[in-house]
C-alpha cells in the first residue's frame, strides 16, 4: 500500500510537469501559418541549381529485398525507377525507411532537396504524405495503395480483388479436395480485398468450395507463413494463396515439400519453385509508378486517384510458364471469360469477406 | 650447516606494490620452518615464487646448494617441492587413492588404470607417514581434515622433500589441528622439510623449529623458536605492541538485555536448524557461542534480527518482544550486527565508503527525514567515523570493494557501533583479518562491553572465544548443549562438546 501511495506521489509530480507543458500547446497552431512560407522559398533555389529531373522513391518498413527470388512489392516500384532512369535519363534516389516515425522526415528531406516527384510505396505513407504535400505545392507526390486527397498527390490504387478473383477461380478449378487455403499477412482492409476476391473467384467455379483463411500477423516471417500453410494443408487444402509479403515464401516452400499448389502474389513468383507454384497474382506496381514518373516528367501530372484494375492491365495473373500444361484448357478459358466479364462490369468483385462469402456468379 | 633451500634477493613488485623486497631465506633440511606475517606481508607471494606460480623480477633459488630455475609448478615438483594449498584441489567424485595418484597413475599396459596398485601404493604411503586414510573412500564424503591428509599424500607421492603448507589449520577444528601437527612431526622425523605459513602465533610456537617473520615485503628476522614467544613475534609482525592477552574480567555485569527462550526454527526444506535454543546476554558481558561451522550459528543470528522465521519460542530485547517483527524495527530497537559474511551481508561493495557507513540507517536521523537524504550529514558521519576508527581509504567516495578486508570490517564495526546499540551481535568478526585488524576488533568489543553493552560473539575460532568471552555457550546441531563460565572450562572440553562428544579420534 505504501508503494502505491508513493507511486501516486510520483505520478502527481509528473502530472504537474505535464500541466506546464500543456499550457504551451496552443501556441503551436499560431506558429504554423508563419512557418508555411519557408519550404516554398527553399524549394525554388533547389530547382535552379538542379535543372535535371529528379525522382525519389521511399519505401515503408519493408525495404527492398536482397535477392531476385524474394522480390516483392517495393522492388517492383524500384524497377519502375530503374526503367525511368534509362528511358528518360532522370536522376533517381532510393530511401529505405527504418521506422514509422521516419516516413515524414524522409519525405520532407527529399522535398527540400528539390526532387520533382517523390513516390511513397505503401499505405503506411498515408499520414505522412497528407501532412507533407500541402507544404510543398511544387513537388509531385505519389502514393501506392492508399488515397491522399491533395492536388499534388497521385494516389495509385489497385483492384487486387479482381486479380485475386482470377487466381481464386484457378485454385478452385485445380483443387481435388474441394478445400483451398488463404494465407494473409497482417490483417488490414487491404489484405481483406485479396481474400474477398479469392473467395469470390473460387465460388464462381465451385459454389461449394471450402476456403480456409488465416493471418500470420507479419509480412516478413517466412516460418510463420510455412507453419500456417502446413496447418491449412492438414485441413485438406491443396491449393494455397498467400498475400503476405515474404511470408508467402513459406507457403511456396510448404507446397514444394508436400507436393501441392501454392499461388504467389505481387510479382511473378512462378520461378521460385517451378512446378509448385500454380500461378501468381500480379500487381503491376511498376506500371503505375512508371506512369506517375512519366507524367510528372512530361508535365501532364494530375493529382487524384488512379485505379489500376484488369481493364488497364494493372492486375492479372502470371503466364504459368511451369504449370500451364497441367491446367485444363477449359479452366483457363473460363478464367479468361471471367476476366472479360469483370472488365465489362458484368461481374462486380466483392472487397469484403462477408460479401465474398455470399457471392453468387451473375447469370 | 648446509641449507636444503636458499632464496636470495627475491624481488617482486605488482604495479606500485612491492610484494617482496630483496628477500633472503635459508631453510635447513629436516626442520619445520614457519613463515609468519600479516596479510599482505608478502609470505604467500614468496611461496608462490618458490612453487613457480609467480616469476620473481630478480633473485635466485638454490636447492641443495645448486641454483635452479623454477618457472612453473611442474619445475617445482621436479625439484622436490610440493605445496598444500589453503583451498584443496581435489576431485570429489574420485576416490582417495585416485586423487593421490592423479596424473601419475600406475597403469596396466599403458592404457588401463591398475586400481589394485593404486590402492595398495596409497595404503603403503599412508602407513609409512602415519596418515590414516581409507584409499577407497570417495573424496566428496570425507572430512576436511582427511582431505588435507590426501593433499599431503599427493605431495608425498610426487616425492617432495620440501613441503609448503599454506595456512593449513584455517579450516580445521582444534582436534584436527592436533592431528595435523602429529603428522608434521612424523614427516620431520622422516627427514622432510616443512615450510609452514600462518599467522596464528600459538600454533607456530607449538610446531616450528625456526621462524621467519615478514612485514611489508621484507624479512624482519629469522629466529629460533626457543629464543622467542608469542608476544615478541606479534610485535615483530605488527611493528608495535598488540593486545593479545585474554580480556580482563568484566567490570560489572547487569541484567539480561537479550533473552532467547526455547527458540526453534526450520529451513526452507523444513529441516530443523534451531531446536529449543535458550540463553540470555547480560549487560556488560560477552557471551561467546562456540561451535563448528554449520551447526546453526548463521540461522541463530538471522533469527535474532528477524530474517529467519522462528516456529517456536520467544525473543525479547530489554523486555520488548522482538520475534515476528520486521528487521528494520528490530535493528532500530538497538541491535548492532557485524555479520559473518562481510561482503554479502555487511557491505554493499559497489557502494562507496560514505554510503556504506549509513547502510540500514538511510531513513534515520540525521541522515534522512524519512524521505530525503541529507548528504551533508552522510559526509560528516563518514568523516568522523573514518577518523575515529582509522579507516584507511583514499577518500570517502572510494568504492569499498577496493579496500582491504581489515578496512572493510572497520567500516562495518564503525557503522554498527555508531548508533550506540545496547546489544551487539558479532558473527565471525575477525575471519580472514590479520593481527592488527583482529586486535582492533577485539579492542572495540571489549570497550563496548565495559561501557555496559551486551555482546554476543559467534566465532569458529576457539582461541578467539576463549580470549574474549565472559561465558561460553556451545552450539551443536542447532541446540545449545552447554553454557559455561570461561574460567571453568578448557579448549579441549569445549572442542569435544562442539563435536557433540562423538569425535572419532583417528590414531596418528
Amino acid at each position: 500500500m505504501k508503494t502505491m501511495r508513493k507511486l501516486s506521489i510520483i505520478a502527481s509530480i509528473v502530472l504537474v510537469f505535464a500541466f506546464v507543458l500543456a499550457s504551451c500547446a496552443p501556441k503551436a497552431e499560431a506558429a504554423a501559418p508563419a512557418e508555411e512560407a519557408a519550404p516554398a522559398e527553399e524549394a525554388a533555389p533547389a530547382e535552379e541549381a538542379a535543372p535535371a529531373f529528379k525522382a525519389a522513391m521511399i519505401t515503408d518498413l519493408g525495404g527492398l529485398s536482397t535477392s531476385e527470388e524474394t522480390k516483392g512489392f517495393s522492388d517492383l516500384g524500384w524497377d519502375a525507377f530503374k526503367k525511368a532512369k534509362e528511358d528518360l535519363g532522370i536522376e533517381t534516389t532510393l530511401i529505405e525507411s527504418k521506422e514509422l516515425a521516419d516516413l515524414e522526415p524522409n519525405l520532407r528531406k527529399m522535398a527540400d532537396e528539390g526532387y520533382n516527384i517523390i513516390v511513397g510505396v505503401g499505405y503506411l505513407f498515408t499520414d505522412a504524405i497528407a501532412a507533407v504535400a500541402p507544404d510543398y505545392p511544387d513537388t509531385k507526390f505519389a502514393i501506392v495503395d492508399s488515397v491522399v486527397d491533395s492536388p499534388n498527390v497521385m494516389s495509385l490504387t489497385f483492384a487486387e480483388e479482381q486479380g485475386s478473383f482470377l487466381v481464386g477461380a484457378l485454385a478452385a478449378g485445380m483443387s481435388k479436395s474441394g478445400t483451398i487455403g488463404f494465407v494473409g499477412g497482417m490483417e488490414s482492409a487491404l489484405i481483406e480485398k485479396f481474400e474477398a476476391g479469392y473467395i469470390a473467384g473460387a465460388r464462381a467455379i465451385n459454389p461449394d468450395i471450402k476456403v480456409v483463411s488465416g493471418y500470420t500477423g507479419s509480412f516478413s516471417d517466412v516460418a510463420a507463413g510455412k507453419e500456417l500453410t502446413l496447418t491449412q494443408y492438414g485441413q485438406g487444402a491443396d491449393v494455397v494463396y498467400a498475400a503476405a509479403g515474404a511470408c508467402g515464401l513459406g507457403t511456396i516452400e510448404a507446397a514444394k515439400e508436400k507436393g501441392f499448389w501454392a499461388i504467389g502474389v505481387d510479382t511473378n513468383q512462378d520461378a521460385v519453385a517451378p512446378g509448385s507454384v500454380l500461378t501468381s497474382m500480379l500487381k503491376h506496381v511498376e506500371v503505375a509508378v512508371y506512369d506517375a514518373i512519366k507524367e510528372a516528367y512530361d508535365g501532364t501530372f494530375a493529382g487524384g486517384v488512379k485505379v489500376y484494375d484488369l481493364k488497364v492491365d494493372g492486375v492479372g495473373y502470371s503466364d504459368m510458364k511451369y504449370s500451364v500444361d497441367k491446367v485444363p484448357a477449359e479452366l483457363i478459358e473460363k478464367v479468361n471469360t471471367f476476366a472479360d466479364e469483370i472488365k465489362s462490369g458484368k461481374i462486380v468483385v466483392p472487397t469484403t469477406r462477408d460479401e465474398a462469402n455470399a457471392f453468387v456468379l451473375p447469370e | 650447516m648446509s641449507y636444503i633451500l636458499e632464496m636470495r634477493g627475491i624481488y617482486k613488485h605488482f604495479g606500485e606494490v612491492l610484494a617482496n623486497d630483496h628477500v633472503d631465506l635459508k631453510v635447513e633440511a629436516g626442520t619445520v620452518h614457519s613463515i609468519v606475517g600479516e596479510n599482505g606481508a608478502g609470505k604467500t607471494t614468496l611461496m608462490c615464487i618458490l612453487y613457480g606460480l609467480y616469476k620473481a623480477d630478480s633473485g635466485q633459488i638454490f636447492i641443495d646448494g645448486k641454483e635452479v630455475d623454477i618457472n612453473s609448478p611442474s619445475d617445482a615438483i621436479a625439484n622436490g617441492i610440493g605445496m598444500i594449498h589453503q583451498h584443496f584441489k581435489l576431485i570429489p567424485a574420485m576416490t582417495v587413492a585416485e586423487n593421490v595418484m592423479l596424473g601419475l597413475e600406475p597403469r596396466k599396459g599403458k592404457i588401463f588404470l591398475d586400481l589394485k596398485q593404486i590402492n595398495q601404493q596409497t595404503k603403503e604411503l599412508s602407513d609409512r607417514y602415519g596418515l590414516a586414510v581409507d584409499p577407497k573412500a570417495l573424496v566428496g564424503n570425507i572430512s576436511v581434515g582427511i582431505k588435507q591428509r590426501v593433499e599431503i599424500l599427493k605431495v608425498l607421492y610426487h616425492k617432495a622433500n620440501i613441503m609448503i603448507l599454506d595456512e593449513p589449520t584455517a579450516l580445521l577444528t582444534p582436534q584436527e589441528s592436533e592431528d595435523l601437527f602429529r603428522v608434521i612431526n612424523h614427516l620431520r622425523e622422516d627427514g622432510k622439510t616443512i615450510l609452514f605459513i600462518s599467522h596464528k602465533l600459538k600454533e607456530i610456537m607449538q610446531i616450528s623449529d625456526r621462524i621467519t617473520v615478514m612485514r611489508d615485503g621484507k624479512i624482519v628476522d629469522t629466529v629460533e623458536k626457543r629464543d622467542t614467544n608469542e608476544v615478541k613475534l606479534a610485535r615483530m609482525m605488527v611493528g608495535r605492541d598488540v593486545f593479545l592477552k585474554p580480556a580482563p574480567a568484566p567490570k560489572k555485569v547487569d541484567g539480561a538485555v537479550l533473552k532467547v527462550e526455547d527458540v526453534s526454527a526450520v529451513n526452507e526444506f523444513h529441516r530443523p536448524v534451531l531446536t529449543d535454543v535458550s540463553f540470555d546476554v547480560r549487560s556488560g558481558e560477552i557471551l561467546g557461542i562456540a561451535g563448528i561451522d554449520g551447526n546453526g550459528q548463521t540461522e541463530l543470528v538471522r533469527a535474532l534480527i528477524g530474517l529467519q522465521p522462528i516456529t517456536k519460542g520467544k525473543i525479547t530485547l530489554k523486555g520488548k518482544q522482538m520475534d515476528h517483527k520486521p528487521v528494520k524495527l528490530i535493528r532500530d530497537e538497538g541491535i548492532g550486527v557485524v555479520p559473518e559474511d562481510r561482503l554479502m551481508e555487511g557491505l554493499v561493495v559497489d557502494f562507496n565508503v560514505q554510503e556504506n557507513l549509513f547502510l540500514g540507517l538511510q531513513r534515520n536521523k540525521p541522515f534522512s527525514d524519512g524521505k530525503l537524504i541529507s548528504w551533508k550529514a552522510v559526509r560528516k558521519n563518514a568523516d568522523d567515523l573514518v577518523k575515529f576508527f582509522d579507516i584507511r581509504t583514499p577518500n570517502n567516495e572510494q568504492k569499498v570493494n577496493l579496500l582491504s578486508g581489515g578496512n572493510q570490517q572497520k567500516i562495518i564495526v564503525a557503522r554498527e557501533l555508531s548508533h550506540n546499540p545496547e546489544m551487539i551481535i558479532a558473527a565471525q568478526p575477525t575471519r580472514g583479518l590479520d593481527i592488527a585488524a583482529t586486535d582492533f576488533v577485539h579492542e572495540q568489543l571489549i570497550k563496548q562491553r565495559d561501557e555496559g553493552k551486551a555482546i554476543l560473539l559467534l566465532s569458529l575460532s576457539l582461541d578467539e572465544i576463549l580470549l574474549l568471552s565472559t561465558r561460553i555457550a556451545v552450539i551443536y546441531k542447532g541446540s545449545i548443549v552447554a553454557i559455561v563460565n570461561k574460567d571453568e572450562t578448557t579448549a579441549e572440553d569445549l572442542g569435544l562438546m562442539m563435536l557433540g562428544g562423538t569425535y572419532e579420534h583417528i590414531p596418528a
Binding site: 508503494t3 510537469f17 507544404d135 | 555479520p339 531513513r363 537524504i373
Partner: protein, 356 residues
Amino acid sequence: MNTVKKFLLKREDVFSTLIALLIAFGIIAILLMSTGRPAGEAFYYFIKGAFGNVENTSNTISRVIPLTIAGVAFLIGAKCAVFNVGVEGQLILGAMASAIVGYIVHLPAIIHLPLMLLAGMAAGGLYAFIPAWLKTKRGVNEILSTIMLNYPATFFTHFLVLKVLPMEGVVPATPKIDATARFATLIEGTRLHAGFVVAILVVVFAYFLLNKTSIGYEMRAVGANKEAARFHGIPVEKRMITAFMLSGALAGLAGAVEVAGVHYRFLDQFSPGYGYDSITVAMVGLMNPIGVVLSATLFGALKTGILDMSIYTEIPRQLTTLINGIVVLLIASKEMIRSSFSKLVRGKEEFKQEKE
C-alpha cells in the same frame, strides 16, 4: 603521472566506452576505405545528417526523446535488480492507453494532455505489475516473463486496432487524438515537440530519486546486494515491485509521449523496438541517468545520420545496417576493452593480482 592515472581509472567506464566508440568508427572507416569509398565524406554526411541543420537536429532530438525515456525506464529497474526486458510491451500498451484517452475524452489541453500521459503511465505500470508479482511472490525470472509478456501486448493492441476500435482509412491505427492532447511542435516542419521537456524531467526525476531520496538509496542497495539490503532491514521485495512498476510506468510514458508528440494516434507496430533499444541505451549510458541522455543522443544520431549518409554517398544500404551493428557490438564488448585499458594503465601484474 599518478593523478592522471587515478583519473583514468576512476572514470574507467567512461573512457572504455569512448575507446569502444573510437574503435567502432575506426573499423567502419577501414571498411569503407577498403571497398574504395571515401570514409571522410561518409562521416561528413553522417554528422550533417544528424546535426547539420535545424531540421536534422530537430529530427535527431525527436528520436532521442523516446530513447531517453525508455532508457531511464530500463535503468530504474536495473538499479534495483529488476531486469525489465518488457519495456517494449509496456511502451506499446502505454501508447495505446494514451491514444484512447486522447481521442475518446474531450477536455481542455491543461487537463487532457496530462491525463493521457498518466493513462500511458498507468497502463505501463500496471502491466509491469504482472512480472513484478511473479518475480517477488513466485520467483519467476523476470527476464523470461517480461519477454513473454511483450507478445500479448503487441497482439492485444493489434486486435484492438483491427477489431474493436474504429479505423479511419487503410492504415491500421486508432482515430487521431484531439489537438488538446498533443504536444506542441516546437519547430514547424520537423518532429521536434514539447515532449522533450518530459524527457528532461524524467532524467532529472531519476537522478533525484536514485541519489537524493531514502527510497532511491534503498533501491540501489537492493540492486547492488540484495542480501545486504535484507540484512539491514530494507524490504527487498517491496522495493523491487516499486522499481518494476516505476520502470513500466516510464515505459508507458515513453509510448504516450510518442503518441502525443509524433503520431497523434496509436499506429499498429509503431515502435521500431524502442523497448529493446532501451536496454542498449541504458547499458551504453553506464546505468546513469545523465549517461542515458548521451547514449540516447548517440543512438538517435545513428538513426538520422545514417540516412543522409546512404542518400548522398554511394554506400550500399546493407553497409548502413552493418555500421549500426558494429557500434552496438563494440560497445557491448566494452568489458574486454576495459580490462585491456586497466592493464595498460595499471601494469600487467598488478591487474593479474587484483583479479585473483
